[in-house]
């Protein structure tokens, strides 16, 4: 074996080991969720499921019990969808408009405003829990999905604005000037010229926001009511419900269900994520 192929072999070996290391938990989860209680008790974590058994998934989805409520994860999952979709769309659209203004329609103090917005990116959200719950109370949105949507829109705004603003500063100012001379106004320029150029950063922001909001636990646990818990909170409560026997297969299936949407988003749109992150100046 000559030297270059040996080094090549080592590189692949290391990469393979790393991949195995990171994929192992996923394998354990999927394998365990497909086993029956009998096989789990036999103790081998890494063994393949003896039969392809989706009972645990069915249970986790529609009939596992959290306390006395035995409707499975389904209602929480629906809550998460109802909460995440509008929150992602609104915070992304809002961020796009903010970024557009902050980069192309600068006004006195706009840089300062942007500076303050940046604080929002670094601020630990625990800080806003109490004031936020007060505000939700004033608005009559406590313990409701609408309240959660509002919270996520505002919490995500700093990040989405930053994404779009930085992307838009790379767009030449002459483009906006040309459009102004052609007779387009503020919204027309945004809609017809700037937004169509924003696909890469739009994908990044959508994925980013979807992951953040879907996976959020803090706001979900703090601001939701009995009927508006997102899937993360539902999963936690379900796994913590004590019963005589711990059904690891059901817990694993439930965790998989809760994590599937974000995984799907990455698989389907991941290529755009990388493209968007590396997208440089826009050439006209």
């Amino acid at each position: 074996m000559n030297f270059p192929s040996l080094s090549r072999f080592l590189v692949y070996a290391v990469l393979l080991l790393a991949a195995l290391f990171f994929l192992a938990p996923l394998y354990v989860m999927v394998a365990t969720s497909l086993k029956d209680a009998e096989q789990i008790r036999s103790g081998n974590l890494l063994s393949l499921p003896s039969a392809f058994n989706v009972d645990a998934w069915r249970l986790a989805w529609s009939s596992a019990c959290t306390g006395v409520d035995c409707r499975g994860l389904q209602p929480y999952f629906v809550n998460s969808v109802v909460m995440t979709v509008p929150a992602v769309l609104v915070s992304t659209a809002w961020g796009a408009v903010n970024g557009y203004v902050l980069s192309m329609w600068k006004f006195r103090g706009s840089e300062l405003l942007f500076g303050f917005l940046l604080f929002g990116v670094f601020m630990p959200f625990q800080v806003v829990l109490l004031p936020m719950s007060q505000v939700l109370g004033y608005l009559g949105l406590s313990s409701s999905l609408a309240g959660l949507i509002l919270v996520h829109c505002i919490a995500g705004l700093a990040g989405t604005t930053l994404f779009f603003r930085n992307y838009y500063t790379a767009i030449p100012a002459e483009l906006v000037r040309a459009a102004r001379m052609d007779g387009a106004g503020f919204w027309r320029i945004f809609w017809r010229i700037v937004l169509p150029m924003s696909v890469p950063i739009m994908m990044v922001t959508l994925i980013w926001q979807f992951t953040n909001i879907w996976n959020d636990f803090l706001f979900g646990v703090a601001f939701s009511g009995a009927d508006s818990k997102p899937v993360t909170v539902g999963l936690n409560n379900m796994a913590n419900t004590s019963s005589s026997v711990k059904s690891y297969n059901v817990d694993m299936a439930a965790a998989m269900i809760a994590g599937l949407p974000t995984m799907l988003v990455y698989v389907l749109a991941g290529q755009y994520f990388v493209k968007g992150l590396t997208a440089g100046a826009v050439k006209g």
Partner: protein, 357 residues
């Protein structure tokens, strides 16, 4: 006929208090209908700011601006009936060439059928009909330039503004597009204001040239006036390539006996009244003459094909002489220089202002 564009006492300052920078210092100018006015000057002279003020993209600090006799201060760029070609072309990257050209018409709610007819007409004029379905990224620099002009032409505006439109092109394309712009102006007859720092573009394109420096108009005139009778040493040095030769000296005697005396020689020339003056002499108006008393040493010979530029070091400074292509000279050789009494430019030595003879 009323002026197509009147610039009346335009001032522009940036900043406040002590940090105020005056970019334009009272500019007054009139542009007649159908004229092709060139604003030329070095970077930072305020020419682009002036163009942006005409376009309505910036507001003047003081002064009035009239297009077709009507003041347009406070009127939005889109309502001024002007079109602009930008240095970076500023084509909309996500739209096809046809949509780029038709965008302004679409914004003005021109019906679709009429719009398409106009787009085709403009594309044919610019020979870009085969590119209408492409996007800007798929075009070469010259093609993008044509699309940018098509976008401006489509609206049939009262006034055309060009902001250094050729500076992103390579030398060969630049010459081609220069001719194209001239042809289009001839064809459309639309009043145009063209900003450039390239004095050759200024000379070849302009029906009038306005030379700017430090926010002040140095001279406004036809290319011929600017070239033959520059108003000061700045204009004289800026326009013309190679640049004009300047010889500092003094006038002695009067009338028939007038002599221009300078370091290393003197010339019998009819000049202005006695005093310290600078003689400006273009390279084509200094001649090599073996028997001339004013002498110098050849330091460089630059054949350009049609002419040969000979750089001669004299006691009064380095002179560039435009000589016939057949000239055979070696570096280090001693040559004589002669100047005829025609084509002399006299300037006040201290102020640089042109002196009458």
């Amino acid at each position: 006929m009323a002026a197509a564009l009147t610039i009346a006492g335009i001032r522009k300052t940036f900043g406040k208090g002590d940090k105020t920078v005056e970019v334009l210092k009272r500019i007054d100018m009139e542009v007649a209908p159908g004229e092709f006015l060139i604003l030329v000057g070095p970077s930072g002279c305020g020419k682009s700011t002036l163009l942006n003020i005409i376009a309505g993209l910036e507001d003047p600090t003081e002064g009035d601006l009239r297009i077709g006799g009507k003041s347009v201060l406070g009127v939005a760029p889109a309502q001024r009936d002007i079109a602009m070609v930008f240095q970076s072309y500023a084509l909309y990257p996500t739209m096809t060439v046809a949509d780029n050209i038709g965008f302004a018409l679409e914004m003005r709610k021109v019906p679709r059928a009429q719009r398409i007819a106009r787009i085709n007409e403009v594309a044919a004029l610019l020979q870009i009909s085969h590119l209408l379905d492409r996007r800007p990224a798929q075009l070469s620099g010259g093609q993008r330039q044509r699309v940018a002009m098509g976008r401006a032409l489509a609206r049939d505006p009262q006034l055309f503004l060009f902001d250094e439109p050729l500076s992103n092109l390579d030398a060969k394309l630049r010459v081609e597009m220069r001719a194209e712009i001239k042809r289009l102006h001839h064809h459309s007859g639309i009043t145009s204001v063209y900003v450039t720092h390239d004095q050759i573009e200024a000379m070849t394109l302009g029906s009038r040239i306005a030379v700017m420096k430090d926010g002040i108009l140095q001279q406004v005139g036809t290319p011929d006036q600017i070239y033959r009778t520059p108003a000061n040493t700045y204009v004289a040095g800026f326009i013309g390539s190679p640049t004009m030769n300047f010889i500092d000296g003094a006038m002695q005697g009067q009338g028939e006996n007038a002599r221009f005396v300078f370091a290393g020689g003197s010339l019998a020339l009819p000049g202005p009244a006695a005093g310290d003056v600078t003689l400006g002499q273009r390279p084509e108006h200094i001649h090599l003459a073996d028997d001339a008393p004013w002498r110098g040493e050849v330091t460089l010979v630059e054949p350009t094909g049609a002419d040969t530029y000979v750089v001669v070091r004299t006691d009064a400074g380095t002179m560039v002489v435009r000589a016939p292509a057949s000239t055979r000279l070696d570096v280090g050789q001693q040559v004589g220089l002669s100047v005829s009494s025609r084509h002399n430019n006299w300037f006040d030595k201290a102020s640089g202002i042109r002196l009458a003879v």
